[in-house]
């Protein structure tokens, strides 16, 4: 079943559905939702099959476009790490798109066809970024995904268009800086293929163009990944976008950018070359650490659930980048595991925010009370699971990525970052427990009536409930089964680990 064409097939499914949805939409508008779910479902089925094939001893699949051998031709490299990230992003997108049905009808009933068509393009860009083995091709996919995400973010509240515009300006500068970095690398190596360039870089070590390229690429990708202090576009974009857009972009977008950073730093350059002239990994590590604390503190200050989650994203992306910057096996495991965990946790939390916005019309934390628990018991249970996982309570998934990151910092004797992991867990507890306290304990009616009013159960529709519940259960499952996942991740190490 798993042929050599699998790497090209997954992005092709998205491309085909991006065209198919507007065509089918001409006939029946309601088809767009079903087709989008079908498209992501097919892609996740193929990526699951590909990952199982990899686990059962399958080798790296290198798909050559047009049969041209690299470095002349462009190739897609479907190795273990790519297979893992592809599986994560497609599955999360599948669940989020199932959930989007009622939100789409409520928030933008006349833009459904365009919305679902653009989500397919967004996923095409993300899958291409993960799979490609060519630096310029990566830039093209980066821009495909960025342009689609500007469009998706602009669908939403009144302020969404302006925050999308700011993201466009900042994001395009990031893309251009990355491209400039690729140009510098091309001048000294004469190739654009990542594997080929990795073999050539030691020969041009010490060339100032390599250092310039590295700095430019880190800044460019850092903007896309919202690495502190380049995160300015993120909170507004995620807050004012439609609930289903932010639930789709928040868990996937910054993770894919962090994955690209990981590819560039550890697979393209390799841990020794990055630090040859400048202590790049230490600088990135310190920035990630500051970002973790900054994001957590800002999240505490927010009274709007979606904005709080957006700042918490800034903090959580810091964990992934910190793991990359440690450049040791434990840091690598922590970073890759956190890509999975954070995608699940953030998607689950944003889906809860979407449910509340649809049912209550707002997601203002100050107005939460225990009637929410009575009305939406399962939504709140999913929220609590994801929040506890965010804080890092064992045996939930979030604990284990922090655990491996902490092991990584100890391995490098980097006590500063270890302290940051511990402090930020406490800060996470502060901003999640205040919500949990409100939804389970705060009873505004208590002073007036001794018995308390009976609030009827008013749970959300199944298409919104199950994706969220599956993610919450997945968090528990990932936590319990993390031995197997970690042993799979240990086969994905870059050369030199």
């Amino acid at each position: 079943m798993i042929g050599p064409d699998l790497p090209a097939l997954i992005p092709f499914i998205y491309l085909a559905f991006a065209v198919l949805i507007p065509l089918a939409g001409l006939w029946k508008r309601e088809l767009s939702y079903g087709l989008a779910v079908l498209g992501t479902g097919l892609a996740s089925a193929f990526s699951l099959a590909g990952f199982i094939n990899y686990l059962s001893g399958g080798e790296t699949i290198r798909y050559l476009f047009g049969g041209w051998q690299p470095p002349i031709g462009i190739e897609f490299v479907y190795d273990g790490l790519a297979a893992f990230v592809i599986l994560v992003i497609n599955t999360v997108a599948f669940l989020v798109l199932i959930h989007s049905r009622h939100i789409a009808t409520a928030e933008f009933p006349h833009k459904k066809i365009a919305y679902y068509s653009v989500t397919m393009l967004l996923m095409l860009g993300f899958n291409g970024m993960v799979l490609t083995g060519d630096l310029f091709n990566l830039y093209v996919f980066l821009e495909i995904s960025s342009l689609s995400s500007y469009a998706l973010i602009a669908i939403g509240e009144k302020r969404a268009a302006y925050s999308a515009f700011r993201y466009l300006i900042i994001g395009t500068v990031g893309g251009s800086l990355y491209l400039l970095g690729v140009g510098f690398l091309y001048t000294v190596t004469g190739t654009l293929n990542i594997i080929d360039m990795h073999e050539m870089l030691p020969q041009v070590l010490g060339n100032s163009a390599v250092i310039t390229a590295l700095v430019l690429m880190v800044i460019g990708i850092g903007i896309k990944a919202a690495l502190f202090p380049l995160h300015g576009w993120l909170p507004d974009s995620y807050t004012f976008a439609s609930s289903s857009s932010s639930a789709l972009i928040a868990p996937i977008g910054t993770k894919v950018a962090a994955y690209v950073l990981l590819r560039v730093l550890l697979f393209l350059f390799g841990a020794e070359i990055i630090n040859a002239d400048l202590p790049i990994t230490e600088i990135i590590g310190v920035l990630a650490g500051i970002g973790i604390l900054f994001g957590s503190v800002m999240a505490i200050a927010q009274s709007e659930l979606k904005k709080m989650l957006a700042y918490s994203s800034v903090s959580q992306i810091g964990y992934i980048i910190m793991g990359i910057s440690l450049a040791n096996p434990f840091g690598f495991i922590g970073a890759v595991l956190h890509i999975l965990n954070h995608a699940l946790m953030k998607a689950c939390l944003f889906l809860v925010a979407g449910n509340l916005r649809l049912k209550e019309g707002h997601s203002n934390i100050l107005e939460f009370d225990d009637s929410y628990r009575k009305k939406y018991p399962w939504t709140m249970a999913a929220f609590t699971t994801a929040a506890l996982s965010m804080v890092g309570l064992p045996p939930l998934a979030g604990f284990f990525s922090k655990w491996y990151l902490a092991l990584g910092t100890i391995d490098n004797s980097n006590w500063f970052l270890l302290a940051i992991i511990l402090i930020s867990s406490l800060l996470n507890a502060v901003y999640f427990f205040r919500i949990i306290e409100k939804i389970y304990l705060k009873n505004p009616a208590k002073e007036n009536e001794s018995t308390g009013t009976d609030i009827p159960r008013d749970e959300v529709k199944p298409s919104m409930l199950y994706p969220m519940a599956i993610m919450a259960l997945a968090l528990i499952a990932v936590g319990i089964l993390n031995v197997y996942i970690v042993s799979a991740i240990t086969t994905m190490f870059p050369a030199g680990f």
Partner: protein, 122 residues
């Protein structure tokens, strides 16, 4: 010193264009001018790629019987140019999305001045 400046003049132009683009994006209050700055910034990157492809005394990358292909110094490098064709297309798409967003912003707030816009949003 003069040789250093004259010998790298294409790079100096790239730096100047990138700086003009950044200035436009950071200092101009009108959002359309910010988009123009963005476009200039991208043009700087394109100029950089085109300039690294050029060689002294080389011909266009079309096979000529008089110039042996084995000597690569005979031909310009065609790859950066083709890459930039794609980058220009990406730039055009970015401009399209940017102006679509500006139309949406103008329809809601009836201004494209950043200061006025921020006051209206608050």
């Amino acid at each position: 010193m003069l040789d250093f400046f004259m010998g790298h003049y294409a790079y100096w132009f790239t730096i100047i264009i990138l700086a003009i683009g950044l200035y436009g994006m950071l200092m101009k209050r009108n959002l359309v001018k910010k988009v123009i700055g963005l476009s200039i910034f991208q043009a700087g990157v394109i100029l950089f790629f085109v300039s690294i492809a050029s060689k002294h005394g080389a011909s266009v990358p079309v096979k000529d019987a008089a110039l042996p292909v084995s000597d690569v110094a005979n031909y310009m490098n065609a790859l950066p140019h083709t890459l930039m064709l794609t980058a220009i297309v990406v730039g055009v798409a970015t401009l399209g999305v940017a102006f679509a967003l500006l139309v949406a912003i103008y329809n809601r707030y009836h201004t494209l001045d950043e200061q006025e816009l921020l006051e209206k949003i608050q």
